[in-house]
Structure formats: structure tokens, C-alpha cells
Symmetry: C2
Subunit: 158 residues, 2 copies
């Protein structure tokens, strides 16, 4: 399925999402992920990259555009193969748009536990904690706890 941009635009405005639908959909398909990568140009030698993503087959790209419109931030990009992803990066959008939404509208699956760790990391980053070596260690600890959950989930879906 290839949609012209005018067509996705139209679909985007056709789809009215309710908060609880988003919570349910993210409970199923969403991912809160943080990576800590070596990066020579960063002060501490590491770059912390938090992201919120929802991946769908391209046939359902209009749902991703609707999420983008709802949150008023993020991008819709090709993921791999015929999958598309809605992705929000950047401390500001995550702490001002995504986190308050899921604080108000609680996730019902164990993805809520993942979200709580994600939230903790983001609040630390907002306070610049990731700019100290101790902060990087704290974040790495939290991130490793998240990844254990994600690893288990990957085993399940394969």
C-alpha cells in the first residue's frame, strides 16, 4: 500500500483518537526504550537516547499519523521492511507531551512498569543527571531493568 501524502493527510484528520484507545493500543504495540551508546563527542563519552515508538504495518500508517496529530510531536518514518514507526525522541517532547499523557492515563499491562522506569530516566535527564558519570551509571541501571522486560517480550513475539 502506497499512500499519496494528500491521502495520508486526509486519513489523519478522519481519525479521531480517544485517550483510552491510545492507552490500549500502546499497551499492545507501544515501546518505551532507552539506549546508552558510546559517543566520543559527548562530555561523558556516552549518549543517552530515549524514545517512544509505535510500529505498525504500512497498511495502518494512518493510525501512526493520528497518534502524531494527537501528541503534536514526533515523526512517522519507515521502520524496516513494510513496517512504519511513529517515534518521539528529545527530552522536551517526551517530558512535556508523552510522559504527562501516560501519567494521567495509566497503562494497564506491565508496560506500565517499563513506562515508570522510562519516566524516571527522563526526569533525571531533564535535570541534567546524564551529564555526570554517576548519572550515566544510574541511567544504565534503570535501562537494564527495562531491557530485561523488553528481551522477554521479544522472546514472546518470536
Amino acid at each position: 500500500m502506497r499512500l499519496k501524502s494528500s491521502e495520508t493527510k486526509r486519513l489523519e484528520f478522519d481519525m479521531d483518537l480517544e485517550a483510552q484507545w491510545i492507552v490500549g493500543f500502546v499497551d499492545g504495540e507501544g515501546c518505551f526504550h532507552v539506549s546508552v551508546n558510546r559517543h566520543k563527542e559527548m562530555t561523558q563519552g556516552y549518549q543517552v537516547l530515549p524514545e517512544f515508538t509505535v510500529v505498525q504495518h504500512e497498511r495502518d500508517v494512518q493510525v501512526l499519523y493520528a497518534l502524531k496529530a494527537y501528541f503534536g510531536c514526533g515523526v512517522v518514518r519507515k521502520n524496516h521492511g513494510d513496517r512504519m514507526a511513529y517515534r518521539v525522541r528529545g527530552i522536551e517532547h517526551l517530558t512535556e507531551r508523552i510522559i504527562p499523557f501516560f501519567e494521567k492515563h495509566k497503562l494497564k499491562t506491565k508496560k506500565g512498569v517499563e513506562f515508570q522506569k522510562f519516566r524516571k530516566i527522563l526526569l533525571k535527564m531533564k535535570n541534567g543527571v546524564h551529564l555526570t558519570p554517576e548519572g550515566i551509571e544510574e541511567i544504565r541501571d534503570l535501562k537494564n531493568q527495562m531491557n530485561r522486560l523488553q528481551y522477554q517480550r521479544e522472546l514472546v513475539s518470536n
Copy 2:
């Protein structure tokens, strides 16, 4: 994770689901499936088996119990490995509980297209169409259209 039955019972009543959360979650994780199997004891030599399922890792079994409580039908069973499934079979429960819910609360992804075909098959079954050779053929046609979508989805998730 092993939950005692008293514990799942408690969790079940703790979790209050809203219709839109269910729609979002099923847009992500639900499956409307129909199988047509050879069965010597059936009049037409075939058995038509429709089912609505939601599969989750056992850590989120309380969500499945909450769905069961919401719809007032179906069972929660081990799927395979550490996955659990909420499953509704049987023409009556499907046509009286599941189908009216998703008629009222529209799915937003292309799973809605799958649901429409599922619904058509169930309405035919309610009228006994699956008890004639032509009916079995009609159902098989609809089912094959559904399976194309499901096959594509499986390719995506692997």
C-alpha cells in the same frame, strides 16, 4: 510468574476496562480467526470454528481476566510457552457479546476489515448457512480473504 487463583481473582476486579481501551488493545493484540476443518461426523464433512482471541505473556494475565469479566464469556487458557490466551468460541457468545461490541466501538486499524469478514461469517452461521455445501464454500471464501491479512501480519511480526 505464577498467580494463585485468589490473586488473579483480586486483580480481575481491580482492573476496570473502558470500551475504548479494549478497542485500542484489540486493534493491537486481538485476532478474529475462522478455521474450516474436515470433520467426518459433521453433516457436510466440515467443521467451521470461529474464534476471537487475545494473546499475552503470562505476566499480563490479569488483563485477559479483565476482558473475560468485561464480556462475560470466554475462557483464559495457556496458549503455548509462557503465553496465555483469552478465547471466545461458540456462535452465541460471539454474535451476542463480541460482535455487538465491535459494531458499536469501531476498530481503527485494518483489523476492522478482518472483523467485518468475521462478522459476515458469524451471521451466516447464525442462520445455519454453514450446514449446506454452498454455505461452507461461501465461508471458505470469506475466511481465505481474512487469512491473507493474517498471513501478512504474521510475516510482519516475525
